[in-house]
Symmetry: C2
Subunit: 239 residues, 2 copies
DNA sequence: CGAACTTTTGATATCACTCAAGGGACGTGG
DNA sequence: CCACGTCCCTTGAGTGATATCAAAAGTTCG
């Protein structure tokens, strides 16, 4: 069965118990993916979005560009994540979505989404739940950037990503692929790449993580969580 | 007519053209307010929210408390704003909502909200729009805290609040009541109160603002917007 | 009028930034 | 298969923005 490797079903399955019919619907919706290269924009600021994108493989991010050229990453998209559900209401995107690694992506037209939601209230609820979790994550990030030190911020992000990757079966032994550069990390947390580098060294020196070849391994999860004050509750994934 | 002083109608009227019937419905919903003192929590982290709160007068905020005791303000609620529409889906609040000034508040039960939305698609759409704007604001705040200097952050917040207060008729001549202490401002932007104080002095020295007696006056809006790189688009209020 | 906040100021400390350069790693083309 | 370019990571040195601590001055309110 495709369940095991369908990240949408896996993710949504954490929010609601899905019937076989629901699974079939979701399976059908997530076919027809295309491959997109790394560092390619999927939706640009100012675009009028037509439908929704579903990420099936790879990692992407939302960001805003300042007039100074500075980039602020606002969210990460992992397999099973959707670009804005309610996009139809908004005429224009206020941010850009870009792939970080090579990605497999499905375009879902607005009417298919609408049909989906009316056909299965369960799916409807779980999709709404997804956007609520996204919002909660945004709040958590604001706390992160607004009030934590560099090391704490990075630790917090790593803990969050572990829970999210685990939920879709892409983390094993507290380890997951992380196609981010240190500059990306900096643009996520409001830090310079140099300072990210030094903070990572500190995390390594303390025996908390290992990060090489685009793969992160958390060596001491309890201690990393303590550093980050991490509480997975906001992700509603049973982290 | 109550229109002019009903902030919910004024705010929502920016998103959708409301019929007289819609206005009547909204008018009815927003009666029965009670007065609540300044610095009082309305909903606490961990609470299971029963229904929605509508703020009719005064100013409130959402915040998260860190285990260190540090507080991070995550959003401001102005008249016409609602506490979480989809609260019903979430079992537990992940943050606290507190009044900043004396507030006039209406409790709206979940079923009334649901009836409202089914009765008038227009109102339903505009309420969904409200939550989208809230989300966009959160993204903007993340950019603010993640990438702007102290002065820029404060300038940006002041510009945002001007547009929002104007939309509900509570700003005149680029001036509005602002019941925040400098410590509150600091907890909003991830700055110390001392540094907020010094940045405010800089804004005053540059002839951009006046702030005294809990009232902010923007003396040179174009220049303040330039400092903040402010673009009101995300608020969808036609600011 | 006094108590409790809030704002302001000064002095010092620190975290994080910038600039600059060297050292991988990796891929591409010769 | 090597040479080279490019991108990323790492290191060092110096600077700057913002934090902390402490106390005085101003404000608000009972």
């Amino acid at each position: 069965m495709g369940d095991i490797d369908n990240p949408l079903i896996r993710k949504i399955g954490h929010f609601e118990a899905l019937s076989d019919a629901d699974r079939t619907i979701l399976e059908r919706v997530s076919t027809g993916s295309r491959l997109i290269g790394a560092r390619t924009s999927l939706i640009r600021e100012g675009d009028r979005p037509d439908g929704v994108l579903l990420l099936m493989e790879g990692m992407a991010c939302r960001y805003k560009l300042r007039s100074t050229g500075q980039r602020q990453i606002i969210a990460y998209l992992l397999p099973g994540d959707l670009s804005d559900l309610d996009a139809a209401l908004l005429k224009k995107m206020d941010h850009t979505i870009t792939t970080l690694s090579v990605c497999r992506v499905v375009s879902i037209p607005t009417d298919v989404i609408e049909r989906l939601i009316t056909e299965s209230p369960t799916i409807g609820r779980s999709l709404r739940m997804s956007t609520l979790v996204e919002e909660a994550t945004l709040r958590e990030w604001l706390v992160n950037v607004g009030s934590r030190s560099a090391m704490e911020r990075i630790a917090h992000l790593f803990c969050e990503l572990l829970v999210r990757f685990k939920a879709i079966g892409l983390a094993h032994n507290n380890s997951y692929a992380l196609p981010l550069t240190q500059a990306d990390l900096g643009e996520t947390m409001g830090l310079s790449n140099v300072h990210v580098n030094r903070s990572l060294q500190e995390l390594r020196r303390d025996g908390l993580i290992e990060l090489k070849n685009r793969r992160l391994t958390i060596l001491d999860l309890p201690r990393l969580q303590a550093v980050a004050e991490f509480d997975a509750h906001y992700l509603r994934l049973g982290g």
